[in-house]
């Protein structure tokens, strides 16, 4: 699929996710995940040296965070940050998105954040996400 077709799909997917978000529909996370996947595809066909390529990379990470898929967001950010020739500005922007998300989680759950580090909680949550309840499926 070419960039133009993907751009059309991304625009439609973002519109849909925003509508669901506005109407407070629980399935909104799936809609944002769809946006993230499409943005990732777009990033595959557009190099980071192009402005649109950088926008797609940031969009893929941002949409993953909106989908509450922190793990995916982190992996994408790491992947884009490790691309040969990736600019410092892009790396900083990706890092800032993850940090801002962690700050939001801490402000949403201030009592837990006083006792525990959000990143650490996420690491443990990921362990149980992959291994199932009690980690029995790990």
């Amino acid at each position: 699929m070419n960039a133009e077709a993907l751009n059309t799909l991304v625009t439609g997917a973002i519109w849909r996710a925003e509508q669901l978000e506005e109407k407070d529909v629980p399935a909104v996370a799936h809609a944002w995940l769809e946006v993230s996947v499409l943005e990732e595809r777009l990033a595959q066909v557009l190099p980071h040296s192009k402005g649109e390529g950088r926008i797609a990379r940031r969009g893929a990470v941002r949409a993953a965070l909106k989908a509450n898929d922190y793990d995916r967001a982190r992996l994408l950010a790491e992947m884009y940050g490790a691309e040969k020739g990736a600019s410092r500005a892009l790396k900083a922007a990706l890092r800032e998105m993850l940090e801002e998300n962690a700050r939001q989680a801490a402000s949403r759950y201030p009592n837990a954040a006083r006792h525990y580090n959000v990143r650490e909680v996420r690491d443990v949550a990921r362990h149980f996400h992959e291994g199932g309840a009690f980690g029995l499926a790990a």
Binding site: D69, A105, A112, A113, H115, Y116, A125, F128, G135
Partner: protein, 289 residues
């Protein structure tokens, strides 16, 4: 605050009743206790305490978590989700109950359904974990109990896993005198021992308890070696000479209290000679030294 989770791989082993008795026992010793019902799919801890007017229950853990998950501007007051219960005796003792919610009622099941849609406990973003850790932190900081006793969901569930692996300092694992119950419990205890903990958390302490025991534990080889393995796993001391020699803690089947589901702690006159009452005391001495 010490957090003690009461867990059983299979149901019907007197888990909630043991928790209610432990809560009442600690309160009569002058301790401040919060009992929290995290058995959302089969809530009933509020039935185990005397003096609870079930018609008065409007809040609880499920409505509380739902309010936080829907992004309420101000976090709900814990007071609206807890009940103060009478303590039989004991100076300074305090007992508060956070039920799962006004169960059984349509309102409760609707709230539970919405919570399931809003809050995914296995969410890799950690939001589910943070929501539950936040509730525990608020209980610690605002209610300031000496003990938080949590009724964990039976079997293998996300909330049961989170309660026992992350929230608890101690997990009381009840099991029935049969191989099915023991084998499942062993798997769970192995998982508890292998599970990651958050920074500053000590390794979880596991206390296995054989429940509904009539005439002691079965003496066949498979059961005996399973129990041995369970005791080895639950003993925290690496030094064999320092290991607990108490052996397996057992709660006998007691028709009077097992069927009646009553508190023994406040029925002292009637229960002082009950084998179950005596076994409870032995267990509480080990649990709350």
């Amino acid at each position: 605050m010490e957090t003690v989770a009461f867990y059983s791989y299979k149901g019907g082993v007197g888990r909630s009743l043991l928790l209610a008795n432990a809560a009442q026992f600690l309160a009569t010793l002058g301790k401040r206790v919060v009992a929290l019902d995290f058995d959302f799919e089969a809530p009933g801890l509020h039935y185990k305490f005397s003096g609870v007017d079930r018609q008065d229950i409007a809040g609880g853990a499920v409505p509380y978590l739902l309010a936080t998950a829907t992004g309420a501007e101000a976090p709900p007051a814990l007071k609206a989700h807890s009940l103060s219960l009478a303590v039989a005796s004991g100076e300074g003792g305090r007992l508060q109950l956070i039920p799962a919610g006004p169960a059984p009622s349509e309102q409760y099941w609707a709230a539970l359904k919405q919570l399931g849609e809003r809050l995914r406990l296995n969410d890799p973003s950690g939001n589910g974990f943070m929501a539950v850790l936040d509730l525990q932190a608020r209980i610690r900081d605002e209610m300031r109990p000496d003990y938080l006793l949590i009724d964990a969901r039976t079997g293998v569930t996300e909330l049961g896993g989170l309660t026992t692996t992350i929230l608890a300092d101690t997990v009381v694992c009840l099991f029935a005198p049969n191989q099915e119950s023991l084998d499942g419990t062993l798997k769970i205890v192995e998982a508890l021992k292998a599970a990651p903990r958050l920074d500053r958390q000590k390794p979880v302490r596991v206390v296995p308890v054989l429940s509904r025991a009539t005439g002691g534990a079965p003496d066949d080889e498979a059961f005996t070696s399973g129990v041995q393995r369970l005791l080895e796993l639950s003993d925290r001391s690496k030094d064999k000479s320092k290991r607990d020699q108490t052996g397996l803690l057992m709660l006998p089947h007691d028709e009077t209290f097992g069927n009646g589901e009553r508190l023994v702690g406040i029925q002292l006159e009637a229960t002082v000679f009950s084998p179950l009452f005596k076994a409870y005391l032995g267990l509480f001495r080990k649990l709350f030294p």
